[in-house]
């Protein structure tokens, strides 16, 4: 971003709004319906086993078969619930005159394909649905394709998602070949008998593929591009539900079908999670684009989820199934909580973008008065994302820490070394995450507006507010009474071989952990916080009553610099500057300070220009050389395509000769 001493230039004005858009209403209603059906199907699958559905004629050779397991049920409820909120929200969001029919029609389809992925019970169905989900979401990302940045984001997204699909395709085909069946339940029973090299290869390939969808480092590069580029309801569904589908893939294939595996699998998952959590939160803390910040926060949260899964695998391998249960529970609860608070945060961010035409935090501010509902909703989402008590993400982070610190001593050197490091990673992630969310909320919504666009903002359409309120309610329920998801978590645990589910955490008013001296009551904690706040407020009011007579009103202290202006406020850049300085070696910012002087005198400064660009270090160090090498290689191949028909006929002749010689 760039700050100059002069006033920022005029922002792009918000898009023109038409009163009613029947297309948006139909699309939103369809999304809500599909989402509600997903929730109903998921709840039904959690409570009792559902009959399998097979449609033989739909796909040649293989047919399509569906069966919703308990594991899929949990993720389906999450996906459906996010879709209901986003669908309701999209009615208001897409009332802009410019919204294309393609965007409107893919939103319900996108949700439908995700439910299809979750319901798939055969490898072919899973792969077909996965690819459909990738294509439909790509169309949704490219909604504003007339911007070059959006097209660039679309290319990155398409590249990464197809790379991931390729990895999953090869991995699952190898698995099907060794298992002799393409039904996932049959494969689960036979995978243990496969040779260990096959299992290792399948694990690596599928973890790469599903990890790319979940946004784990170093396969996260599409997230910070695609999320800001996509319309906000789409970002919300992608970030809250689609990355969760990636996690579903890891849980279903790598834990339930392939597992339990050798120790290094757990280490790979744990390390990828720790790397993602740290890298994601560092980038989020220095991001100035609101949606880019949220996208990096998604990487961070999925990293925490992967840490929980990896810790569960490792603990189970060391023979601590009870603690492993707690770790896997923490990961699943984090998926659910993340879906609630991240969809809320993305919807609120979209509301801000629609009202101000700005995504840059340095040009926002002062929205609390103009957009009170959006502000409260974003605050609820940010509290959940920061993992503090009373937030939706607190219980899962607490469970994860409990599982990490309660590995019994004397279990082994690896566990004794890894677990304290993991505790440190989670603690650092949470701490920096709080800074990132304080920045997003404080700079984005409080104080005075920093640009004309922010100053003229007004509250969003009622349907958008309803969508956000739904997500906020889900956050509140998860924060105060996480017991509601206990049956769903138990159904997943019972299907996971590592975590045997013998003694899953007891959710109630008091959250008890089996075999661990730890308990927590989110509800009582909230009640105590409310009582304490009221007590302090009451005491202050009583004490202040006697003093009010002596009060005098004076101007705010501005260090003698004249009246208070918005240029004296913290910006997102200045707020994150200390963090940027501390993590300079990792983030490698490109900082440039340029001072111009008045006339000939070096002592009088006319203006100071500060420019700081933070690019994704993984992208620069890993992907640019790779892409460069690929381009060089493609250049060599291109020389063979000279356009000469004679040459092509010669290629054909040589190929035929080779085939004849080999097949003789």
């Amino acid at each position: 971003m760039t700050v100059t001493a002069a006033r920022p230039s005029a922002p792009p004005s918000p898009q023109p709004i038409v009163r009613a858009s029947p297309g948006a209403a139909v699309s939103g209603a369809a999304t809500v319906l599909v989402g509600a059906a997903g929730v109903a199907l998921g709840v039904a699958a959690i409570t009792r086993p559902l009959a399998a559905l097979r449609v033989g004629w739909l796909l040649p050779l293989a047919g399509v078969s569906f069966e919703v397991t308990g594991t899929a049920g949990l993720f389906m409820v999450v996906t459906g619930a996010v879709a209901v909120a986003a669908g309701c929200y999209s009615v208001g969001y897409f009332r802009h005159a410019k919204t294309a029919m393609a965007t409107l029609s893919v939103l319900p389809l996108f949700v439908l394909t995700m439910i299809g992925v979750l319901a798939a019970s055969s490898v072919t169905t899973l792969l077909v649905m996965w690819e459909l989900m990738a294509l439909v979401s790509l169309v949704a990302v490219l909604s504003d394709h007339h911007h070059a940045a959006v097209r660039d984001a679309g290319r990155w997204y398409a590249g990464m998602t197809q790379f991931g699909f390729l990895a999953i395709l090869i991995g699952l085909v190898v698995l099907v070949h060794s298992g002799g069946s393409e039904s996932l339940s049959v494969l689960a029973a036979r995978a243990g008998a496969a040779p260990s090299s096959t299992r290792d290869a399948v694990f690596v390939l599928t973890f790469i593929g599903f990890g790319a969808k979940a946004g784990l480092v170093p396969l996260h590069v599409w997230l910070p591009r695609a999320h800001p580029a996509a319309p906000s309801p789409v970002s919300a569904v992608m970030s809250a539900a689609m990355v969760a589908v990636g996690i579903y893939g890891v849980v279903r294939v790598d834990l339930q079908i392939l597992g339990p595996g050798p120790r290094w699998w757990a280490m790979v998952v744990l390390a990828a999670g720790a790397l993602s959590a740290l890298y994601g939160v560092l980038q989020a803390s220095v991001a100035t684009d609101l949606k880019r910040l949220l996208a990096y926060s998604t990487t961070e949260n999925m990293g925490v989820v992967a840490m929980g899964l990896g810790a569960g695998m490792l603990l189970a391998d060391y023979g601590h199934p009870v603690v492993a249960d707690v770790a896997v529970t923490a990961a699943l609860l984090q998926v659910v909580a993340h879906a609630a608070f991240k969809s809320l945060a993305f919807l609120a961010a979209g509301s801000v973008v629609a009202a101000t035409g700005q995504r840059d935090l340095d040009h926002l501010g002062g929205l609390a008065k103009a957009m009170p509902v959006t502000t409260i909703c974003f605050a609820v989402g940010a509290l959940g994302a920061s993992g503090l008590p009373l937030g939706a993400g607190f219980v899962s982070e607490w469970l994860l820490l409990q599982s990490l610190i309660h590995s019994q001593p004397g279990s082994g050197t690896l566990l004794a070394v890894v677990m304290p490091i993991a505790v440190g990673v989670v603690a650092l992630t949470t701490g920096v995450g709080v800074a990132a969310m304080v920045k997003a909320f404080g700079v984005g919504f409080l104080a005075r507006p920093r640009s004309p666009g922010a100053a003229l903002a007004s509250e969003s359409a009622p349907s958008m507010l309803v969508g956000m309120t739904m997500a906020a309610a889900a956050c509140a329920v998860l924060a105060l009474a996480p017991a509601v998801v206990a049956p769903a978590l138990r159904s997943v645990l019972s299907a996971t071989p590592q975590a045997v589910g013998v003694a899953s955490p007891h959710f109630g008013v008091l959250l008890r952990l089996p075999g661990i001296a730890g308990s927590l009551s989110p509800l009582l904690l909230a009640a105590a916080a409310v009582v304490a706040t009221l007590a302090v407020a009451g005491a202050t009011a009583v004490a202040g009553r006697s003093r009010r007579a002596q009060c005098r009103a004076v101007a705010l202290w501005t260090c003698g610099g004249g009246p208070l202006s918005e240029r004296m406020e913290y910006t997102a850049t200045s707020f994150a500057e200390p963090l940027q300085r501390v993590f300079d070696g990792v983030l490698r910012p490109d900082v440039d300070v340029e001072v111009t002087h008045v006339g000939a005198s070096r002592y009088l400064v006319e203006g100071v220009r500060y420019r700081s660009v933070i690019v994704d270090a993984v992208e620069v160090r890993l992907y640019r050389p790779l892409l460069g090498a690929f381009e060089t290689w493609a250049g060599w191949v291109r020389r063979a395509h000279s356009g000469s028909v004679h040459l092509y006929v010669a290629y054909g002749a040589v190929a035929l000769a080779v085939v004849l010689a080999v097949a003789r």
Binding site: Q550, R552, V554, A555, W557, G560
Partner: protein, 159 residues
């Protein structure tokens, strides 16, 4: 770090011995034992600033008498004004005085702040500090020595 600790150990205490406590100025309300001051340079030649910074060095160590310089008038019990009040600084001095919470005092430091000194009738000068804000304690000298400044501050802090 180890070198630093070793040096501190070798150097020991360098503070001057404590002089006798001057008589306490009778000022209503200002807290006893602790005095937080915000320094305002209203147009000084920087001579007083050098002596004032000397007061808070390890040698004179004014903080052992309960006096401290703070970064904002919002944190302060009063102001230390140095130099004659120039036109450009008059409103800043008034604003700073208004920003200090009651009860509050002003210490005029040096001849210029007390009566205008050599700048009395100079161009662009409004007058001594007392022409803009109510001065409670005057410390004379051009510049006053740290010992004199500390004696003046101790009449307020009472320690």
């Amino acid at each position: 770090m180890r070198g630093l600790i070793a040096k501190m150990w070798r150097t020991g205490r360098v503070a001057e011995p404590e002089p006798a406590l001057p008589a306490r100025a009778r000022l209503g309300g200002v807290s006893q034992g602790s005095l937080q001051l915000r320094h305002v340079d209203a147009g000084s030649c920087n001579g007083c600033e050098i002596e004032l910074s000397g007061c808070f060095s390890p040698v004179y160590d004014a903080e052992r008498y309960g006096t401290r310089l703070v970064a904002s008038p919002r944190h302060a019990d009063g102001l230390v004004v140095t130099g004659v009040v120039t036109r450009n600084m008059a409103s800043a001095l008034r604003d700073t005085w208004a920003a200090v919470a009651e009860p509050k005092v002003v210490v005029a430091l040096g001849d210029c702040a007390c009566d205008g000194g050599v700048f009395t009738d100079a161009y662009g000068v409004i007058g001594p500090a007392s022409s803009v804000v109510p001065v409670a304690v005057e410390v004379r000298g051009c510049p006053p020595s740290p010992t004199e400044i500390i004696a003046g501050l101790r009449t307020l802090s009472g320690r």
